[in-house]
Symmetry: C2
Subunit: 176 residues, 2 copies
């Protein structure tokens, strides 16, 4: 049943891709469902905040934004304007034995290998069905092609908005 649902979704994604750009080859660089791409220059973007997740993620992360998103964060503007892009980078949360040799006590954790990069794009009309946000997850620069992954993005962000309201589906707050 679940497999069938995934297949049906994949089929609809393929159909959408083909119908949306009939003269071009299907876009292999975009995320499923949303067609979100990894922005070329995201690694140069400004810092919004940092965070750390235990559990299955076991990562330390940075949240960057393009200029539209960062301006909205700094001005406290909600909902975010169209064109806002938020990028979450994450790396393995890793104890640093090297730093611990220098510091007064074992206490230092650093960023290890990169895990994945998640991208949220605001387009109120295009992504009307998902609160105005489209999602993508990338490993080694390539999109995760499992539709369940990006659908989980929205499910979780929607849960936040239902719980709090006024978040425009965004977890991160700006750190000054």
């Amino acid at each position: 049943m679940r497999k069938f649902g995934t297949l049906a979704l994949l089929a609809s994604v393929l159909l959408f891709t083909v119908s949306a750009s009939p003269t071009r080859s299907p876009d292999v660089q975009g995320s499923p469902v949303f067609g979100v791409k990894l922005p070329n220059d995201y690694r140069d973007w400004k810092l919004i905040s940092v965070a750390q997740e235990n559990g299955k993620n076991n990562d330390i992360r940075a949240i960057l934004g393009n200029d539209i998103a960062v301006k909205a964060f700094r001005d406290g503007k909600r909902p975010f304007p169209d064109g806002s892009i938020i990028v979450r980078l994450a790396w393995r949360y890793q104890s640093s034995s090297r730093n611990d040799k220098v510091f007064p006590a074992p206490q230092s954790f650093v960023a290890g290998e990169p895990t994945n990069v998640q991208v949220s794009v605001k387009d109120a009309r295009r992504y009307a069905a998902t609160g105005g946000w489209g999602y993508g997850q990338f490993q080694g620069g390539l999109p995760d092609k499992d539709p369940a992954v990006v659908q989980a993005c929205f499910a979780c962000h929607q849960k936040l908005e239902k719980l709090e309201g006024g978040t425009d589906f965004v977890f991160t707050t700006y750190s000054r």
Copy 2:
């Protein structure tokens, strides 16, 4: 004895400031010993990496750099060229009960209130006595005026370089 040493240092800092700029008032915005200032636009700089410290620090941090420093990090260039500036921002390492309500298990830590900002400036000639680096620590945009604070910066970075070599006194490695 220690108090006397601090006083002597303060006196030499004051003398240096006065002799270096005889027609201007002493620079209240710079760090002691090194005269390092908080760059105006550092919050817009590119991300080098993230880290987390337990113990007395109990913080989560981001390391940003100006264009000269970031280029050197990305190219693996050591020692860093003159003009490189590395800024370490830190915030209280704080459990997020809000995120934990949304996520499958309690696991989420975010950036709380800012603690301090540390700045390292590379100038091989000016800071020849301290490996080419000058240091400053800032709270709420103002420099910590205790010379012991910036001297502790160098002591710790020097310990790293002695232990490893080839670090150019820099802990952080670039995270892709």
